[in-house]
Amino acid sequence: MYSKEEGFFKDKKKTYSVQSVKRIVYSTDARDFGQAARSVPCQEACPAKTNIPGYIRCIHDKRYGRAYELNRMANILPGVLGRICSRPCEAACRHGEPDNGTSVGICHLKRACADLKPASHKIIEGLYSPTDKKVAVIGSGPAGLAAAHDLSVFGHKVMIYEGQEKPGGMLMYGIPEFRLPRDLLMLEINNILRMGIQITTGKKIGTDIALKDLEKEYDAVVVATGCVIPRKLGIEGEDLENVHNGLEFMAAVNEGQAPYVGKKVAVIGAGFTAVDCARSAVRLGASDVSLNIRKTQEYMRIDESEKHEAAFEGILTNSLIQPSRIIGDGKKVTGIEFVRTRMEKTDTPPFRTSVLIKDSQFTVQVDSVIAALGQGPDADGISRDLKKLKSLGDLAWKGKVFATGDFVTGSTDVITAIAGARKCARLVDEKLIGEKRRQTVVRLEDHKTTDRPRAYDFISRREMNTIDMEKRLENPANEVETGFDETRAFEESKRCYLCNLKYEIDPLACIYCSACIDVAPKDCIKMIRNIPLNDDGSYGDYEETSDWNDVVSITIENAACIRCGQCLAVCPMDCISVTKTELIEIDI
């Protein structure tokens, strides 16, 4: 670690306070937003813009409570998301880029701060004064809970209407307990509800209560009913006994029922629900469970650890096949016919599609089929009344009625639903109050040290420990992942590059000695002739030059920099500065 302050502190006769010389700027400059987005890829990839380097640093400093709060500010349910998040941040992590090793275990660390925070931890809520406005939130899934929380913080009186008996939506009924313990889920839900939010369960809007009545009673209505209508296979035999759809199957399992699966189970689908169904079938006593997918495993919509856990539990993945017919004895399913597929290139993401191979059918004997093909919003119930809503991307709005979450976007993931709902809550508040009360800014703070030695770059990723197969089958509710202890969390936290630290060379002080270029392990320090601006005002790609006559500056490309600090250590002119860059919300 290198510190510019070291020199000052050597003078024992004087007392210095680092706190007293903090210089902080709150910026709304497009260049700073662009820089933050470009150089902190994990935060940019997170739909909720969680301050990931910030909370990982807190874990490193053993400030687990602060780490939990940094999470909660952005994503409301850190303990839940630390277990089941789809982890777009890890896919974007700079440590996982070519030649940099593997991405940081961001999600495991998120769980660690929830697990390791002290019992005396204090939850922080920046509450606004009561407004006397009443808001109804329909649905208590991740989007409904996030919207209710934020609206409550804004001082509005919130009532949640939940159609099921328990709150949580897909978290409660869609995700198995062995991935998400229910006491933890209820704890984090109650942390939201205890702010004075009321909830009524077991009543469906559209059947038990009319949306129009809510519009009369409340100042605003937020629809966050998610996607609850399962997609059908659309093939012969789908109505046979022991053909389940994934959502209903998981709901039954999560309510403590044991739907019949038999010994041989074919699960159709390539997402988290399909894997949850397959793993639940193993716990119901099936001995031969397969996941059957149209493309290859590379294109499954789950992360590598889920693939690994499924394989560990003996679940086979059969790729490049598509079901064409479910075969039965007139009543129950006895087999399933598949058609083989091959991959074909397309011009749009994910740039591959599966194409059926003609006359390639084959049949497999099965006792049950679970079709987990995803789900869509309720098309017949509440949707009829909401067709005139004006779409604003991930939310929709007209008059008093707002819609958010998967109901608007189609089936996504928990973190996307939460992010959309928080945006929706801001809009609702703006309409109710008549002005914006919160804004996102870039907080810039002088930071004198690199905060980590170069040796940390070579620490290998700490994987999550899991319970053995015997314990998994002993009680289907036993949580499979055991979490990080303090030592493991500390080791993993060291791996974060801290991309929120921005390195800059002062072109007026630089003597162009190129010592920094010589010691940089990455191609991140560049001689440039220009940095053009993008249309949105942010910096574009650097225009490099090797001709000294054209060089206007030696510049650090923060999108390539791994924050090793070697440039800072070697600079003879002390012209490299470090600035902590964070996206935060402040009052306007």
Partner: protein, 342 residues
Amino acid sequence: MSSQDHYVIIGNGPAGNHAAAVLRKKDKEARVSIISDECIPYYYKPKLTGFITGSVPREDLLVLSLESYARENIRVRLGQKVERVDVDSKTLHFSHMEKIQYTKLVIASGSDSRMLPSMEPYEWALKFVTSYTDVMEYKDQIKNAQEIFIFGGDFVGFKFLRMLDAMGKKVSILIYPHAFWPYNLSDEMLDQVVANLSKTRVQVIVKDDIKDIKGSPGAYRIKTCNGIEKKADLIFSFNGMTPNIDFIKGSGIDYDHGILVDEYLKTTVDDVYACGSCAQIYNPAIKAYTVTIGWPNAVNQGEVAALNLLGDHKVITSVGRKYFDLEGVKIKTTWWKNIEDE
């Protein structure tokens, strides 16, 4: 063909070497490079088990000497590991940070021993017969070992088992019916295998699983789910092979249980071909992708890949031995439909 071409072959087995030989023969001017992560020239892998037990000397393992590569003007890079393929810039990135450009690429990287997910907690105790380097690490330990435990089975495993038995070692095997990926043993096949092994001193355990392994090299204790306890000096895992293709992941080259190639051995990316046991080949006759094993298949595929890379349109077919004999049970070397029953 232009003399500027650089044909790169990843893999130094039968598929890779035969591809290189065809490329050199057909294009005298081009640069031809073979890359291998092993530090030994082209060797006969099926003889590794014999090499371990001492019945095959090192000289007999080698198929080609380093001098013969030089004579053919083929550059061979030994002990070098490709970490990543960038198909847009046609660049290979090595673990030692070097980058090289290719004009056309043949991937013939073969397979590694498959680690079953359920056995990962015991990785520290397991030994594999995958490469010459692996084998050199424990060759002497085998000589001194008295009791050896084999977990899984597979073709190499059974060959090894017979050799250890002949050496007078006390051998136990826990047979996994699905150790023979991509084939599974049926109950009848398993019964026949067990019946044939009963004529040896090998102790056979079936329909069981490992519950726990404790100890250290020379003194392991294995417990099974059915309560059997075994002592062993060494534990070997033979659970089939898995294609050695980690370096292509994320490159845009499609893979499934191997690199997906059409009947011409062309991958989903232009100018990249794959052959041998790392490839999963589309077979129009059965309208499915199949994996092949065996030396003759690898040789044939290497040659066909090279010819097609140079502009030919040869459709690959299954060649060589049609069946492997596993303790009296016949197992097909490929899933090719036109393979005749004998």
